[in-house]
Each structure stands twice: as C-alpha cells, then as structure tokens.
Amino acid sequence: MTTRTSRSPRWPWVLLAISAAVAVTAAMVVGPDAVQGQLSRILYVHVPSAWLAFTAFGVTMLMSAMYLWKRDLAWDRRAHASAEIGVVFTGLAIGLGMIWAKPTWGVWWTWDARLTLTAIMFFVYLGYLALRRTTDDLEARAKRAAILGVLAVVQVPLVHFSVVWWRTLHQPPTLIKPEGIDMDASMFVTLMVSLAAFTTAYVAMMYKRVELARLEDELLVAERSTDGPVAGAAVSTPSIDGGA
C-alpha cells in the first residue's frame, strides 16, 4: 500500500559543492570595498540569504495557491518545504545582518525598514510551521496552511508598506546601507556567483525537504491504516465486531 518513495537526486549537491567552492573563493579574493573595507565581504552571504528567504516565501505562496486550485497534496508538500527553508534563510539573513551591523554601526540591531520587515516575516512563517503541527489530517492541514500562505500574500505587502512609511518618518537614512556600497564590476560578479551558489543550495534543499515531507505523509498514512478499521487500498476483510 505504501509506495516506496524515490530518493531525491544527487546532482544538485554536486553542483552546490562546485558553486559554493567558486563563490567562497571569489568572495575571499575580490578587492575590499573602499568605505567598508574587508567587512564588505559579508555582503556576499547576507544579500543572497535575504534574497532567498523572500524567494522561498514567494514559492510557498505560489504552491499554496496551486494547492487551493488543484487540491493535490504534492503542492502542499512543496509549500511546506519552501516555508521551512525560507525560515532558515530568514534566520540566517537576520543573524548575518547583526554580525554586519555590530562592527559597522556599533549595535546589533537597527530599525531599518527592511530588517524590521524580515523579522516580522520570520514570525509569520514560524506561525505557518506551527500551524502545520496542529493536525495530522493531511487534507485539513494542507487547506489551512494554504489559506494562511495566501493570507500572508495579501497582508505582507501591507506590513511592508506600513513599516517603510513608519521608518521614513522616524529615521533619516543617514547610515551606510549594505546596498549603499558603491559596487564595482568585480564585486557585482562575485555577488552574482554567490547568489547562484545560494540558489543551488535552495534547490538541493528543496529536493531533500520535499522527499522528507513525502516520507512523513506516508508515515502518517501507514500509521493510521494499521490501526484503523478500513485500510487504505487493502483487500477488505470481514470486520470483527467492535474492531474500531
């Protein structure tokens, strides 16, 4: 009754190993920024992780919408996988932002609009993951998570807009922003290489995480059908009275 899950492919990991090696080398040898000095090298991990965090959540929204349309659990598993990876990259981006902020501005945290929004997103999707833990009914879980995934679509732009408007009134943008770095061609190329390596990491993780989601679903089904009276696709057997 349980279809053996095929293992996710190996090629993304090979590609990741190569691209990560190239990206780290490039990030270490490229010339330092005139203003930021060696610290500018943090750019090559901070910006890609922030970018991927938002991409991952975007994928979650798309997959949620696909689930609501098609009602196929495969879309739900992709939404789930992407959300979890997104939360990890969001945490990474926030952590790296802090590591960059401390030597640059002397504080771990600034109320930059983008940083604030990232932190809020972190909690929105933490809530999404928590919601998924509240029921074992695959369909109900998928539907509820998808509705929250789409609710985030409509609400997050409002959060973004309100935060940006709030900060523009309260904080004149005097600080050096990461994206304020005057980027020459070699830095830009390095950033792109790094972005490619991070995206490869995302793809490789997606394959693995979707495989895990599939296994977990199979496990739930298997555990349910061994104690339930009506097995998934099993040959029906005469029921013993009170067998439930």
Binding site: V221, R224, G228, P229, V230, T237
Partner: protein, 214 residues
C-alpha cells in the same frame, strides 16, 4: 417543495479523509415511503454514510443526489432545510437554554420561532425549556434535537443511533416521528449497531462493513 420519488440516490460513491478510505463502492437508493435501517459495527462507516446523505460530507468520487439536488453542487444548500439530521452527539449550544437553541435554529432557517415551546412540550421538556443546555442530561439534549426536527417537519429523516440515551417514552416518540415522516411520503434512514431497536420501524435493512454496503 415537491418531493421526488427517489429521495436518496448514491451511485458508486467513495468518501476518503486524508488518505484513508471511509466509504467505497456505495450504491444506495431510498424511495418515498421507506424507512431504511443500516447496521454495522463501530467504525464501519455508518456515521459517515449518514453525514454524506445529509450533505455534510463531500463524496471524493462517484455521484448522487439528495432530494433531487446533485451532490457536490451548491444545489444541496436549497434542500438542507428539508433534511432532519440527528447526530450521535447533540449539536446544541451549551450556553443557550433549550428554547433559545430551538429559536436560534428556526431563525437561521427563517422560520417562525413561535412553535418552539410547544415542540419542547411534545417531547416532554415543557418544564425545562428555560434551562441552559449545558445543565441538561445527554438524554434531554437528544430530546431537544428531536423537538428541533419536529418543528422543521423534514422530508428526509436521518438518525444516528436513534434510540441511544432515550427512555421508552422518547423511543416511542422517535418511532412515531419516523412513521409520520414516512407516511407523509418522506423517507428515513436510521443507522445503528443495535439491530432490534431499529427493526421495529425499518421497512428494509442493509448492512455496512468496512465502508461497504452489502
């Protein structure tokens, strides 16, 4: 509304929740004037079958119609007021009194709530009308459910374990309700694990096991 001759028609219907199949290969027809008893062990799919007929569960495959409205379409909303469903557990709001529960139901169906008190009296709860539902016994709550059905006068009566938690008076009342509905050209489906109690009123019986009728 006009009642079609065939009140329930299910053909090759399956119901699954998640990846578990609860009902499958269900072919089931109930005609006007019938009271069908459905027997089966706990977990055989009785309650799901009843909720399927009550349009509360969607079939995952197959087709069917209830009171002439095709399942899985929005037409079922129009026929719901003609369905009298009494589930295994009472569906009363605990913080409302018995009479308020009946009035709420009537108002939601846009019917006159005036007969609520006499309906309660006819199930022997005239004296408890203003008691909060949460302070009533399980049996009293079930009687109130039957009063709700009595007020609505449904064409299709769906009863889950109709005699559980009821004393003999109430059992007779339920049986009379079934006979009255069936006599008026309606139909009833009664599911139970307790064969003798339902045999008395059923005009026909079927068995359900492992989610299949036989």
């Amino acid at each position: 509304m006009t009642v079609p001759d065939t009140l329930v028609e299910l053909s090759d219907v399956a119901v699954s929740a998640g990846s578990t199949t609860i009902l499958r290969d269900v072919d089931f027809t109930v005609s006007s004037g019938e009271a069908v008893g459905v027997f089966g062990a706990n977990g055989a799919g009785k309650t799901t079958l009843l909720r399927l007929i009550a349009t509360l569960v969607r079939p995952s495959s197959g087709s069917g119609s209830i009171l002439g409205a095709a399942l899985n379409t929005s037409d079922v909303i129009d026929v719901r007021p003609a369905i009298g469903y009494v589930g295994h557990l009472p569906g009363l709001l605990p913080e409302l009194t018995l009479i308020e529960n009946l009035q709420l139901h009537a108002k939601l169906q846009r019917r006159d709530p005036e007969h609520a008190r006499s309906a309660l009296a006819s199930v022997g709860l005239g004296g408890a009308a203003d008691r909060l539902a949460e302070r009533c016994s399980h049996g009293m709550q079930r009687r109130t459910e039957f009063a709700k059905v009595l007020m609505a006068g449904p064409k299709l009566l769906l009863l889950d374990e109709p005699h559980s938690a009821l004393d003999q008076d109430a059992v007779d009342l339920v049986d009379a309700l079934v006979e009255r509905t069936v006599g008026a050209g309606g139909a009833a489906v009664l599911v139970s694990h307790d064969r003798p109690s339902v045999n008395a009123v059923a005009t026909r019986t079927v068995e359900i096991a492992d989610g299949q009728l036989r």
